[in-house]
Symmetry: C2
Amino acid sequence: MLTYSLADKGADSLYLYLYKCIKNDIVKGVLPSGKKLPSKRSFAKNLGVSNITVENAYALLQSEGYIYSLPKRGFFVSDITFPAPTKFASFSAPVPQREGDSPRKEKVTAPTFFADFVNNHTTPESFPFSIWAKLLREIISQKSNELMIPPPCGGIYELRSAICSHLKQFRGMEITPEQVIVGAGTDYLYSLLILLLGRDKIYAVENPGYTKIEKVYHSHGVDCRFINMDSSGILVEELTRKDADIVHISPSHHYPTGIVTPVSRRYELLSWAAARPSRYIIEDDYDSEFRFAACPMPTLQSIDTMERVIYINTFTKSLSSTIRISYMVLPPRLLARFYQELSFYSGTVSNFEQYTLAKFIRDGYFEKHINRMRNHYRTIRDDLLAQIAKSPLAGCSTITEESAGLHFILRLDTEKSDQELVNNGKKNRLNLSCLSQYYHRTSPEMPDHSSMHSLVMNYSGICRQKIKEAVQRLCKSVLTTS
Amino acid sequence: MLTYSLADKGADSLYLYLYKCIKNDIVKGVLPSGKKLPSKRSFAKNLGVSNITVENAYALLQSEGYIYSLPKRGFFVSDITFPAPTKFASFSAPVPQREGDSPRKEKVTAPTFFADFVNNHTTPESFPFSIWAKLLREIISQKSNELMIPPPCGGIYELRSAICSHLKQFRGMEITPEQVIVGAGTDYLYSLLILLLGRDKIYAVENPGYTKIEKVYHSHGVDCRFINMDSSGILVEELTRKDADIVHISPSHHYPTGIVTPVSRRYELLSWAAARPSRYIIEDDYDSEFRFAACPMPTLQSIDTMERVIYINTFTKSLSSTIRISYMVLPPRLLARFYQELSFYSGTVSNFEQYTLAKFIRDGYFEKHINRMRNHYRTIRDDLLAQIAKSPLAGCSTITEESAGLHFILRLDTEKSDQELVNNGKKNRLNLSCLSQYYHRTSPEMPDHSSMHSLVMNYSGICRQKIKEAVQRLCKSVLTTS
């Protein structure tokens, strides 16, 4: 078994020294990619330390992406030439985000996939750095007074007002700035909504769905139930049957299936919400800017006359995931409660970025950026589809939802399990995810989705020059027999 | 009774139209400052609308600072030439933060106090705009790749590492970057800690104390108990008796009393924490940078060998409250749980500001800024104390805690109630708060602190040129018989 002498640990705590020893061996290649590490218990026994010491060392290594865990199988060494995914839970064996390095050690080169079909990163070429820098400079020189005034909990007036105009122009929504609440990312806003709507409520999420939403509800310890979907979206009958109060949906473009909820189901949902005073719909409109269809479906919010819809959207998709600005639109009936109970919370977005973004929208740069990005993503998608059509995959796959924007579904005619597909991808330095990973199986009677053979192809972070080779690697991952 | 014709409401919803009517009358002076508004119920009856319509209109007006409420007395028109406080709950009649204006109306001039002794704002002269702008520019031109990589939940490595060096140098703390978790403000970190430590735990806060902390716990619906203090800090015996698991304290400089917990009480606290596995101490070191004493007491964290202390600090005090960056230092024993259960949460601070702040600290600008600000605050304090010494207040007041930094206590020999003092301050365009406002009276048997006649004088936001007149206004507020 792997062993280290802990006598030389010096001033370090045991767990930290152990972490450094293992990391060092991974970086030097002594522990190769894929190597299984000893179980925590036996490793602890062997080293003569407590289980918690090994647990802490493994947790740190995992948080930095050096190792990953497989349920019921244990811990394995990551391929550190790969990047860690940063959005969307990957399979049951996620390589978590890379955390801070140890202070006294050289930093490891950030691992990189050849192509990442899981995370929707913004590439540096896509971000309007020069305009952003110019606007920031103007804000700093012209608004030094305003920059020092703490913003109200909901955000600065200029930004909320700019968001109103944007939503009116692009989504036909008629709202007032006081309905707009700005926050540092949608995770933060989800948490705030739990405090607003009540921890005693029953929350419901889509199955399949964006797994992180359920994680947020789970971490808050609220009752969160999975609701199945048909081809029109979430099943209203099941919502009623499962006693849900609050339902969290993405009716304009469901992730990952791409389902667009038709108007009849929308009215059914609104009618469900209106039937009891505790019911609300959270409408997550996360990538509405990038739909390629000529005329996107109006929002649920805009046809809601009973004030039961809370609209959420984010600039982390449309601008950059590293600028942490999201917003929600509260219905008027919730405003009194919000301002009375939660407005004591300080705002979470820096004034510098709030003013810069407000100007970016107001001066028309956001619209230009969206148009440019929509064209850019369309080109990427077209290239990718063309390469797949020319490849051996053409004969053994079907593509759906290719017009939804930012991702499509590639259904494969293969014997391989979904886990095998993802693992093969990893070997070929592709980050892949399967539709089945977004399903939550609540009971053994439920259908098993573990072999749907459908890849969710998020293409927004793919560099155009790499598409040809990425498809070759994809063919290898799908077609090579192991 | 006040009445409006709602026939002309046009496309507005009822509540919005009513809000606009009332606001218009306040702005035009038809409804003067201090005027009592009709009760919600009678107003609704009179207008023939539902109670919720009036409630929503009042909530909006209150959120924008146009009106304020007094418990059991009702709603009153604010003096809109005054600013709204933005930090620290003011008396039982707070003027809430100013929210966004109505979109189609001209914006009201932001109301301003002559001098604000409640809120610790940064004045624009104090913020190092040119250096900040220069560093931001460098970051944008040199780090375009890094800026687009989503940061891990705990923050970018460079910032966490810079914070480690800072804490080592200024507070003698030996920690590693992975222990540092960066977040968008302390409110956010408090919320994250509730998720980490458990909603089933019993939380305890200081009485008196910074009222916002209890509000955060309250909004999360966790059991939060008030613990009394003696001259050495929080009472450990009461912590035990009240079954607390987690205690939230500021031992280095209690707000607002300024108490510094001596080393014996510190060990008593650590011993309390070590006695049960569920116990932790949250050490809020909120303004440690600005203590004028030659050698500030070491942190609890640095003498904690049992890993029971969570250290929290913020750049919102030391840099600007509008740059939303705070951090906490987790003990190693909590790291595994944090990374396993909560690292799926996206970071809340933009990469642009994380990299800029990291460089600001690393290149020595933060240290220079702190030194400059410490001198600046010392000058403000000395001037203010000198003016008070020369004024009629000298004969009827005692000053304590004048070396604590950023505030002192002015105890007055007066017949006036604390509420009267605050109200008189308002009439003289001073924002004042009393020590009694920071006490929570949990039962009628508890001592009534409502007439302590002690003002908490936060002076960091006071402009030097205004000190003389501010003290004259203070004399008027305290000495004039009404």
